[in-house]
Symmetry: C2
Subunit: 455 residues, 2 copies
Amino acid sequence: MPEHRDLALQYARAHREEFLDSLKAFVSIPSVSTDPEHNRDMAVAANWVADRLRDLGMESIQIFPTERHPVVYGEWLGAPGRPTALIYGHYDVQPVDPLDLWKTPPFEPTVVGENIYGRGASDMKGQDVAVFKAIESIVRTGSLPVNVKWMLEGEEEIGSPSLPKFISEHKELLSCDFTLNADSGIAAMDIPSITYGLRGLAYFELRVYGPASDLHSGMYGGSVHNPAIVLAELIAGMHDAEGHITLPGYYDRVRPLTEQERAEFARLPLTDQSVKEITGVSVPYGEAGFTTAERIGGRPTLDVNGMLSGFTGTGGKTVLPAVAMAKISMRLVPDQEPEDVNRQLRQYLEERAPKTVRWELDELAGGAASISDLDNPWVVAFGKALETVWGKEPLFKREGGSVPVVGQMQRLLGVESVLAGFGLPDDNLHAPNEKQHLPTWYRGIDAFIHFFFNL
Amino acid sequence: MPEHRDLALQYARAHREEFLDSLKAFVSIPSVSTDPEHNRDMAVAANWVADRLRDLGMESIQIFPTERHPVVYGEWLGAPGRPTALIYGHYDVQPVDPLDLWKTPPFEPTVVGENIYGRGASDMKGQDVAVFKAIESIVRTGSLPVNVKWMLEGEEEIGSPSLPKFISEHKELLSCDFTLNADSGIAAMDIPSITYGLRGLAYFELRVYGPASDLHSGMYGGSVHNPAIVLAELIAGMHDAEGHITLPGYYDRVRPLTEQERAEFARLPLTDQSVKEITGVSVPYGEAGFTTAERIGGRPTLDVNGMLSGFTGTGGKTVLPAVAMAKISMRLVPDQEPEDVNRQLRQYLEERAPKTVRWELDELAGGAASISDLDNPWVVAFGKALETVWGKEPLFKREGGSVPVVGQMQRLLGVESVLAGFGLPDDNLHAPNEKQHLPTWYRGIDAFIHFFFNL
């Protein structure tokens, strides 16, 4: 008689079509958390997730309201004496603009070749559904070998503002041995990997105010400081000629990379060449003294995510704008804290902004970086699962993205996270034409099945 | 028996209500030349203007098509032996965005106190109607003492791209002794003035391209040059710490201000204080070594008119943008040529733009600065008209704005322009809440009546 593990793997192989349909249904819901116009879609997505937990035989399913978007909870605790995994996920997605650069409609998931295109296909509806389907494969062919709890939030793409409070207020409910967080990816389709480090995030909106209203650039140009130019000067001053960030004290708490870490970075398939191929730039760029892999995984950055001032339509308008705005965000590494960066940016602006303008700074999101312990049994179990499916030992990597919940779990629940997702570096996360590579996705479902049996 | 001049002035005084209604009707037409969606409104406005010329008894009225918006022509040549004025005007207006800053709808002209608000109320529908109504007052009470031709274009706010060709091809039709150009204003409501100099304009759109599409700032931030930051650095480098423009050779052809000109600038009511009051800035700013009036009227500038990159909606999106755009324009003084500035800007970009990005530069509009002769009989006649109506000698001023047609008339038709309009410095030209001060407008109509009789 075949083992339960094998039955589950067979079930997964036999139901790939239905698994894909389920992913399509989820991606079709335009659950953009940052945009209040999608609030109804967010509720639809939360209910969709709760229904899936119900399908899996989960109990105590609840949709907890928060100040913005609800947290979906469910559990199955029918394996006494066995470990309890808290499965984290998020059902919200990034906005889709610029919409005109999408080759297929972002909320009409479309399979082209080996990929499925759509907003959230990879980040992270694809990963959510992969875990759902791994569990489905197990529970349809037997009994779950572990206990599971689920916490699926709707605010990850806006910095998880409600989550720390939710976790603090539900420590008992969420108590577990470790968390499984699939909001992640592997290094390449043929290179299985486990993420052990994530960068933090500090995200700001800076507004520079000049004249009380837009002026005619002929009548006043030359006599009033142009806030778009002031903003440009402030942004320009944030990096030196070597790509170092100039905010006062910015590097004070940056943990230096060890020789071992630099060796691990060197093994990653993340090179100038791969960055060129994926991003289409002809000359990569970054902080002097570090490799591309280190710049992404191990060093803090400062990016302008958006910039707006004056007239931006077709043709010309000779206006001297009243205001200029930039969205500026930093990716943080251990041991930088978002609060430090907020203070450093403010100090920079106080020292550098001319008296001819007024400025305002809002912090829109923030979360510290995190680094996990590589020796814990959950990571080992996941590494073994990857090795079984891919037939090779996985890489350990620090990633450039931010999953603040990992740090919160560590701090608030005292547990480690297994960062186990199956996105790829060229998935166009947060960009037009987001996709999920389907062969990798199906392998991922198999890996999750192995993982739950390995525990 | 009262003189014709007095009858015309009486007519004007008796018909102020109707004059205002006519202005309201004109301002109600949303003739935004830069926006193809308003092409129909442009045609409506051209026809409205032609109808007004018909009402005034003009002959040979024609609407000449051009590549974009038509030129309206009309004439009355029934005063042989008397001078011929070519009356220039434009029936197009600037775009209205940001719409939410308008206190009244831009195309529903609204009188509040002594002002009428609406897009084009001052620039220059108000001035067009003032000339129409001065001529109406004269022709309803007798016969015009001069010959007039009219040329009203629909492309002034987009840099008059079709006008040089139109003038070149219709030199005979447009032959005249001088042009009257009311696209101008006076220094203050109690300070009549004549504009004898105008700045030129060179207007560009600069686009900086980074990655092929927007990237996730966590996955690639630090390894790819951010085009918004590169654009900011390029803009920041265009001025030095003293407010001088750094484009190579930018000041080479700038005509220095004479002592006499500086003395005339010093008489203008355009001071740090007035700039503060009108613009709402607390600290004016400009090129070191020059007064506010000189910075506006006598020195070239470089402004950013618009800037756009990445995500600019509400909230945060952690995107590393693929492209960043700025609208950059320079106000030019004699003897700078737009072609020189185009070359200088290109040279600057070639020298400064890093190899990590690609850039494109488009010139959207260009026109040289102009300076008129103060002793010509037409300017003298207008000065006398102002003195009669205001009871004081007018100031002579160089203005910061650009009316490229003035230079074209000089070059192509060999005639001088009288720049005679009745806008005020706080009219919010090209900005929300554009207005025309009505008492000044009625005085302007009287001044135009005097002017035609003074000739």
